[in-house]
Symmetry: C2
Subunit: 147 residues, 2 copies
DNA sequence: GCTTTACCTAAACATAACTTTAGGTTTTAG
DNA sequence: CTAAAACCTAAAGTTATGTTTAGGTAAAGC
């Protein structure tokens, strides 16, 4: 059983990202590599999951900085185990559900409000932005990107 | 009955954005103004709805460029009427619903996959991106960019 | 062995979406 | 009337997320 190390190009192809993006993620501390005798990057297979998670999270509107802090709970240089990933998964499931609820709320506001053509805007949820997404308070939740 | 024109600072306060952002939106062609005798911006009340819509759309992950093209159907210098806003509302409602469906799908993939800790990644939807959302192959791109 | 492909680093460039700065003008409040 | 607050423009700066370029080194195929 070999260690099955991957070159940067192999990871790039398998994950659908550019090599330059992997360099970038590494500079940001989101992924890690060892080096070959000739100083080329070598990745363990777990990097693929990391990159997949990065891309998935970005779809949710999570910044790399936030992803980095979520990854802080993972072991840096060895493959995270089931428990590690599961913890991440659960918190993201919650965050994602929260985001979905927000979007539904917004969608309903759009229907009820933009289309209404109301001239008095004082009760309009779009007009009073804070109402639109409601719970703006500083939640610890990762996806609370309501700035 | 006056035209009830608003200064840039008034709009900024009522919409919760910076004055510089309004200048910026105007340069981008998202909002319009007339000028006072002394060359200061004066806005009609409809600008508030425009700005509110901009902010709402940004919450959905819509870029300013996309917002601009959506706004292309609105009359430039006079207040859009009910029909105009309603058309916008409907198309965005659809887009939002689509986005919500994607997020739900992704959420479910995360639960089923990230948490599983599977070592053989060959059946993993995160690992094999094409399976995640089906439609649209084009290489190993993780998720449809909802461009 | 040689050549092509892949890789290395550092630094510059790109784009979006704004903000800040600098220097000057207009409006408003007392 | 005057002084503070608000406004003007143009240009440079900022942050995030990368990509591109330039000048070399390593690895792989024939």
């Amino acid at each position: 059983m070999e260690k099955q190390e991957l070159s940067v190009g192999q990871v790039a192809r398998r994950c659908g990202v550019a090599v330059s993006a992997l360099h970038f993620y590494e500079r940001k501390g989101l992924i890690f590599s060892s080096r070959s005798a000739g100083n080329q990057r070598r990745y363990g297979k777990d990097v693929i999951r990391r990159v997949s998670v990065i891309k998935a999270a970005q779809q949710l509107g999570v910044s790399l900085a936030e992803i980095e802090s979520a990854f802080a709970s993972l072991p840096r240089h060895k493959a995270p185990n089931r428990t590690h990933w599961q913890a991440l998964s659960e918190s993201w499931h919650q965050a994602l559900s929260a985001r979905i609820r927000k979007l539904e709320k917004l969608r309903d506001s759009l229907t009820g409000c933009i289309g209404c053509g109301c001239l008095s805007m004082d009760n309009c949820p779009l007009y009073n932005p804070d109402d639109v997404l409601g719970e703006q308070h500083t939640g610890p939740v990762m996806l609370e990107r309501d700035d």
